[in-house]
């Protein structure tokens, strides 16, 4: 699937760009922001006529912390139940890497972690 790369120096832009399989993993504690970023990315990719798959919603990981409410040991044994939810979305693309960089640099919400994995490098 990857086109044969022309020999050239590093840092010099290629005339013909090879299309890589790219996986963008988005994770966040905040669902709303995450969904927004997802939507923006997919929209941007579709604008550039890329083949997009996603967003695939991974099961949310919930971190539970159960602690005693009381700072001392006195009193009724009441417990607090805290949880931290991490949501993960995965988007697969087929595109040259520069385009991906452009897409991801535009839309950024706070609290969303973006990880880009480029295959066949």
């Amino acid at each position: 699937m990857a086109m044969p790369m022309k020999p050239g120096k590093v840092g010099v832009e290629e005339a013909v760009e090879t299309v890589h399989r790219i996986r963008i993993t988005l994770s966040s504690k905040n669902v709303k922001n995450l969904e927004k970023v997802c939507a923006d990315l997919i929209k941007g990719a579709k604008d550039k006529r890329l083949k997009v798959k996603g967003p695939v919603r991974m099961p949310t990981k919930v971190l539970h912390i159960t602690t005693r409410k009381s700072p001392c040991g006195e009193g009724t044994n009441t417990w607090d139940r805290f949880e931290l939810r991490v949501h993960k979305r995965v988007i697969d693309l087929h595109s040259p890497s520069e385009v991906v960089k452009q897409i991801t640099s535009i839309t950024i919400e706070p609290g969303v972690e973006v990880e880009v994995t480029i295959a066949d490098v």
Partner: protein, 564 residues
């Protein structure tokens, strides 16, 4: 069958979007940056700009955009100057892979800032040396910040004070650095003078300089550029001895040099540190001079209007006006005619305390005074005078005569002998024998407890059937113990009680009269009272016995018998 993965991690490069590490970067660069996370070595076009492995010059303005990969990668690492493990034969790849574990931020910062200097450029090295940093190839300038460039740092303002030690003694210096410059046409002469006068102030030299100090000494005292002497040589160890030798005049020539040095070094403070007593006067005089000189310096200043006003105020408010006091000036003294005080004398004359021959109420006194003053306002001035004189004389005499009453006052005290005495006979005779029957006084003897006699024991044995019974809490054979009077009483009561039980109880009959009923009920009450008494006696007996047994057991020692 294994599904073909979309991305094979081993052949993939992973980048994470992170916040830029360097905050003082250009504004047109975005805040987030892709940072390589995985340990692969492949280059990704487009992402290679921020990959320190491919682009070690990222964030750094040099022309070395296309350098050899290997060398660049080596140097950009934090461990660049560390020795390679294993010597020459070590695998370069292993070094690289270990580097990748280094945290991203450090890698970023190092790469962005000082990645590619090699040996530092000369101008930077010079600067570092000037600042005092060691020349070890590390760029300390990255931790330094220029002052005053941004609004955060401060800005240098040069000091405006002139140095006093360079001034000559006969020269007055005025500091007019704060005088605002104006065009002459705009401001009038008066205004200019005022402005200049208010902004200029005299540069004062220290007090000891003005006082007439030796210019050499003054120069040494004001020496702010460092002393000629080493810190070690400042004072001789026995400088006091040297200094003391000076007034004695002995071998002063030898000690000239060190003495001069010490003297000059310490200045006036040295004089005050003399331990001898006769030198104290010098000390005080020096201090006084100092104070006076300070005062004189203040007065040398041209006095302003405000100063004069203040002096006037001080004189008016706080100074004594005695020398200015004018007896003749009626305004200063105040108005008062002597004729106004005629009444004072008449009051005194009629004062009962002084002239108290006759008791007069205040109304009478007033009337008398009024009559005397009213009747003779203008006539008989001389007669009045004579009368007054007489009265005054008598008053004086009366007042003086307290010495006549210096008699000894005798107070009579009744002595004890005069009081009526009682003797034993009288006392005793007042008491009668009617209410006091004297008896023979004897010590109370302990009640002797006797063991029950044999006859009694036998008797009891018959009663109990040959068995020794242990009774009570203390499990004692009460029948054979020596009885105490209470116990005897209790026994008697018990027997009585039994007897009384055997007595036929008066039964309420139908035809009894109220008296009979009363009698019956009284009898019943009596029985009950007796029964109660017997019961109590028995209880007390048992308690006493058990206590006694416990005591005994305690004395004899621990035994198997447990006494509750």
């Amino acid at each position: 069958m294994v599904k073909k993965k979309f991305i094979d991690k081993k052949k993939a490069a992973t980048f994470v979007l992170m916040h830029r590490d360097t905050e003082d970067a250009d504004d047109d660069v975005s805040a987030r940056v892709f940072t390589r996370v995985d340990a692969g070595f492949g280059q990704v076009p487009g992402f290679s700009e921020e990959d320190p492995r491919t682009n070690p010059d990222y964030g750094y303005e040099t022309d070395d955009g296309e350098e050899d990969e290997g060398a660049a990668v080596e140097e950009s690492s934090v461990f660049a100057d560390a020795e390679e493990e294993g010597g020459v034969d070590c695998d370069v790849k292993s070094v690289r892979s270990s580097r990748s574990i280094v945290s991203r931020s450090t890698r970023r910062s190092v790469s962005s800032r000082a990645a590619h200097k090699g040996p530092l450029p000369e101008h930077i090295r010079l600067e570092l040396v000037e600042l005092g940093f060691p020349d070890d190839g590390y760029d300390y300038m990255q931790h330094m910040r220029k002052i005053g460039v941004s609004g955060v740092g401060g800005s240098f303002v040069p000091a405006a004070r002139p140095k006093p030690e360079k001034l000559r003694a006969d020269v007055k210096v005025f500091d007019s650095s704060k005088v605002p410059v104006q065009l002459v046409e705009e401001a009038s002469a008066k205004k200019i003078i005022e402005v200049v006068g208010s902004s200029t102030h005299r540069v004062k030299r220290p007090a000891y300089v003005e006082n007439g100090l030796d210019p050499e000494v003054a120069a040494l005292l004001d020496d702010s550029e460092g002393s000629e002497f080493d810190s070690l040589e400042e004072l001789e160890d026995d400088f006091i001895v040297f200094a003391n030798n000076l007034p004695e005049g002995s071998t002063s020539q030898e000690f000239q040099a060190p003495e001069n040095a010490t003297f000059k070094k310490m200045g006036f403070d040295f004089q005050e540190s003399f331990p001898e007593g006769d030198e104290e006067e010098e000390e005080f005089s020096d201090e006084d001079e100092g104070a006076r000189s300070a005062v004189t310096i203040e007065h040398n200043r041209p006095s302003r209007i405000l100063d004069e006003q203040f002096e006037q105020l001080a004189l008016r408010e706080y100074d004594d006006d005695d020398d200015n006091f004018d007896d003749d000036d009626s305004e200063v003294r105040g108005h008062a005619d002597l004729s106004q005080f005629d009444d004072v004398l008449s009051e005194f004359l009629s004062d009962p305390k002084v002239f108290g021959d006759k008791y007069m109420t205040p109304a009478e006194i007033r009337r008398a005074a009024a009559s005397t003053s009213a009747s003779k306002p203008a006539e008989n001035g001389q007669v009045l005078e004579a009368e007054k004189k007489k009265k005054i004389d008598s008053a004086i005499n009366n007042v003086v005569d307290y010495s006549e009453d210096d008699e000894l006052v005798v107070i009579e005290v009744e002595s004890e002998d005069d009081r009526s005495n009682w003797d034993c006979e009288t006392v005793v005779s007042t008491l009668s024998n009617l209410d006091n029957h004297p008896g023979k006084i004897a010590a109370p003897s302990k009640p002797r407890r006797k063991a029950p006699t044999l006859g009694k024991v036998l008797e009891d044995k018959e009663a109990t059937g040959g068995i020794i019974k242990l009774r009570g809490k203390a499990s004692l054979p009460t029948d054979f113990l020596p009885l105490r009077p209470q116990a005897e009483k209790a026994k008697q009561l018990k027997s009585l009680g039994k007897d009384s039980c055997k007595k036929p109880q008066p039964v309420s009959r139908a035809g009894e009269t109220p008296e009979e009923r009363k009698a019956r009920k009284a009898a019943v009450k009596e029985e009950r009272r007796e029964a109660r008494a017997a019961k109590k006696a028995l209880k007390v007996l048992y308690k006493d016995e058990s206590q006694r047994a416990q005591h005994g057991a305690a004395h004899t020692g621990p035994s198997g018998i447990h006494l509750p």
